[in-house]
């Protein structure tokens, strides 16, 4: 079985033209792979480039070099060199991403934020909303908030809406940026449970988790990104 995700010598730096062309190296020589049903946790101090690596995999940050291969059966897409529309297709079918903060859109109620991507697929709206309701319930978002746009929610509530949105669609690859950072113990336990369920369904996961308990509970493998930062 080929891995779902494979990074080979991926590298990234920023060139800040407004600061006189200052070059900020981020990571280099990033090598690791993730198999179906496996959870790889990226570890390292703040600023070591963990979130940047997730963003590179999702195609949100561009790579300067190397490969980021996403496998689906016989097909392989290299995110590092893919056309925008290939990356969009990957995001629609293969990759899910839970960002650190919810980017809420004005006027869209929480339930629809969660149902989001799935509801667009024709005829699937009601099913998507049912799935969204179930996840919001498990994550303890009270029903009276479902019809409210999450812009006014607390940080923890927004994060749970964001988690529900990322976990609802079944995608072979899931990227999680600090999914439990501002959650209480009960909700943290729910997220650990949700991750375990995804793994049983064969989802490959790359996660950032500072909390040691969470890391121990979800990680099959820990990749220390400090060495990638040093190489940059």
């Amino acid at each position: 079985m080929p891995p779902v995700l494979e990074l080979r010598a991926a590298q990234k730096s920023f060139t800040m033209h407004l600061q006189g062309g200052l070059r900020l190296p981020v990571v280099a020589g990033v090598d690791f792979s993730v198999a179906a049903g496996q959870c790889v946790v990226l570890a390292g101090p703040s600023g070591a480039g963990k979130s940047s690596i997730l963003k590179m995999i999702f195609g949100n940050y561009r790579c300067d070099g190397g490969q980021i291969l996403v496998h689906q059966g016989e097909a392989v897409t290299d995110v590092a060199s893919a056309e925008p529309r290939q990356i969009l297709a990957l995001r629609r079918r293969l990759m899910g991403y839970v960002s650190q903060f919810l980017r809420a859109v004005p006027r869209v109620p929480a339930l629809d934020v969660v149902a989001g991507a799935l509801a667009i697929e024709r005829g699937a709206r009601e099913e998507a909303r049912r799935g969204a309701a179930e996840l919001l319930t498990r994550l303890h978002i009270p029903q009276r908030l479902w019809d409210v746009p999450p812009i006014t929610f607390s940080g923890g509530e927004q994060q749970r809406v964001n988690i529900a949105r990322g976990f609802l669609p079944e995608r072979p690859l899931l990227l999680l940026d600090e999914p439990t950072a501002s959650l209480d113990a009960e909700n943290r336990a729910t997220v650990i449970e949700l991750i375990a369920e995804k793994k049983r369904h064969g989802t490959a996961i790359v996660a950032i988790a500072h909390d040691e308990d969470v890391r121990d509970a979800i990680a099959d493998c820990v990749v220390d990104v400090t060495r990638f930062a040093k190489a940059a």
Binding site: R62, R85, R107
Partner: protein, 262 residues
């Protein structure tokens, strides 16, 4: 192997160049737009955005380069090789054009229902009841109250006029919509409502669209891909979130870093 329709672009521009005398409008612009894709063209005033939009929609003739559009028979056709009548036909059926100023896209003295119904009549609808029914349905979709259907848009607010213009454009189920600063000149709350509406409609109808805007938040919300223009040239392009979160060109970095957080 023949490419499936999905792999053939809907709209394709190559080497598009336009001069106004010695003043450059835009130079050597090329891209391909596929079905269901939304492309934002961003840049400051005078960067050539609107010139490009007019070239793409066949309202201006380029000095060099070409625009090709895949008509419903699956053939990619050069706009310049089409007759004026054929282009007008495209505008009535396959295309929409949303102006920044709704008075340019609406007939101000004709009722709202008439504004929407007129597009249907242009594509051959004749049954009055059905035309009125479709117009009423579209007014509802753009959140205009049914009891305003017989009022002319000159009695409407700016936000309502813009929503009416959108209904008028979408009622014939176009495949491609051009929008020139669709939220320009509207209050923030009116803008949010319009953006939300546009976002929903674009997704639901799987519309392809080219949106000119100077507002990066509008581009982020509505578009999949983005082209950044400066002095008539495209200086950076790519996935919208990629270009906005990891801008490479000095000018794009300046644009992105110039936004005041609300």
């Amino acid at each position: 192997m023949n490419p499936t329709p999905d792999e053939t672009p809907l709209l394709e521009a190559q080497g598009l160049t336009k001069w106004y005398g010695r003043q450059l409008g835009c130079r050597d612009i090329g891209f391909a737009l596929y079905e269901g894709e939304v492309l934002a063209i961003v840049g400051e005033s005078g960067s050539g955005k609107t010139t490009l939009l007019q070239l793409l929609s066949g309202q201006l003739d380029p000095d060099a380069g070409s625009v090709r559009y895949r008509t419903r028979d699956g053939v990619l056709r050069d706009l310049a090789a089409m007759s004026e009548a054929e282009r007008r036909f495209l505008f009535r059926t396959d295309w929409g054009y949303v102006h920044q100023d709704p008075t340019l896209g609406l007939r101000m003295a004709v009722s709202a229902g008439g504004n929407v119904g007129e597009r249907l009549m242009a594509v051959g609808w004749r049954h009055y009841g059905r035309i009125r029914g479709a117009a009423a349905e579209w007014l509802d979709r753009v959140e205009i109250a049914q009891d305003r259907i017989d009022d002319p848009p000159r009695t409407y607010s700016g936000g309502m006029r813009q929503r009416l213009q959108i209904a008028r454009n979408l009622v014939t189920q176009p495949r491609l919509v051009f929008m020139d600063e669709p939220t320009g000149g509207l209050d923030a709350s009116v803008q949010a409502r319009l953006l939300d509406l546009l976002r929903g409609l674009v997704e639901e109808l799987a519309l392809a669209a080219v949106i000119v805007t100077h507002d990066l938040a509008v581009a982020r919300l509505l578009s999949h891909r983005i082209m950044v223009m400066k002095d008539g040239e495209v200086i950076e392009s790519g996935l919208t979130d990629q270009v906005l979160d990891d801008p490479h060109a000095p000018y794009t970095q300046l644009l992105v870093s110039s936004i005041l957080p609300a």
